[in-house]
């Protein structure tokens, strides 16, 4: 059964039509010892990818794909890494992207696929001046 209704799919498809660059979402899951949310994450991503041919989902094995885990700094599952035009956007998501998290997923895909940031000029100047590694973690819940 689909998680997205036909109406939701139509609205989402229109939003995603802004994408101009290929977006790849690397989904790290683990079959053994992994949570059910990895299965949910896969279904959500597949449903989104079906709406736009520039979006590709690539599943990675958390236990076996150690080089890529290290490359993208993945320490828990399910984890999503967003690539825009093959380049790391440094945007990550952990946990099933449902509820409010789903909105975040769509926004991240749009940023990766358009390069457009909906931020004020002042904010962009502040961000441009960051010269040391900065790790931002945002905790949220689906409801």
């Amino acid at each position: 059964m689909s998680l997205l209704s036909p109406q939701d799919e139509q609205v989402l498809k229109e939003h995603l039509s802004a994408i101009t660059k290929p977006v790849t979402v690397l989904l790290f899951t683990q079959a053994i010892g992994g949570s059910e949310s990895g299965v949910v994450a896969k279904q959500v991503l597949d449903e989104v990818a079906r709406l736009n041919d520039k979006i590709t989902i690539v599943e990675k094995n958390f236990i076996l794909d150690l080089d890529e885990r290290a490359k993208y700094g993945i320490d828990k599952t399910p984890a999503m890494v967003l690539l825009g035009d093959g380049q790391d956007t440094r945007m990550r998501m952990f946990g099933a992207p449902t509820g409010y998290e789903f909105v975040g997923l769509v926004e991240a895909i749009l940023i990766a696929g358009t390069g457009n940031l909906d931020l004020q000029d002042e904010t962009l100047k502040l961000l441009a001046a960051v010269d040391k590694p900065t790790n931002i973690q945002v905790f949220s819940t689906p409801t």
Partner: protein, 64 residues
């Protein structure tokens, strides 16, 4: 923010799925933002204030 600068990495974390991490950072409400494991921002803030708080840039300092 991460997309704007290669020095920045951002993670959206589903708090109820990663309880140990949520406990470590005392996530008692959402959204809660943690920067470099030390700076804590509870709730949502206006954009510029959020960025200044996250990056520890005083309000009265000029934009670069």
């Amino acid at each position: 923010m991460a997309y704007a600068n290669p020095n920045i990495t951002s993670s959206a974390i589903e708090a109820t799925e990663f309880m140990e991490l949520s406990r470590r950072f005392r996530v008692t409400g959402v959204p809660k933002t943690i920067v470099n494991d030390t700076v804590e921002i509870m709730g949502a803030l206006p954009e510029e204030l959020f960025v200044r708080t996250a990056l520890q840039i005083p309000d009265d300092s000029p934009t670069p």
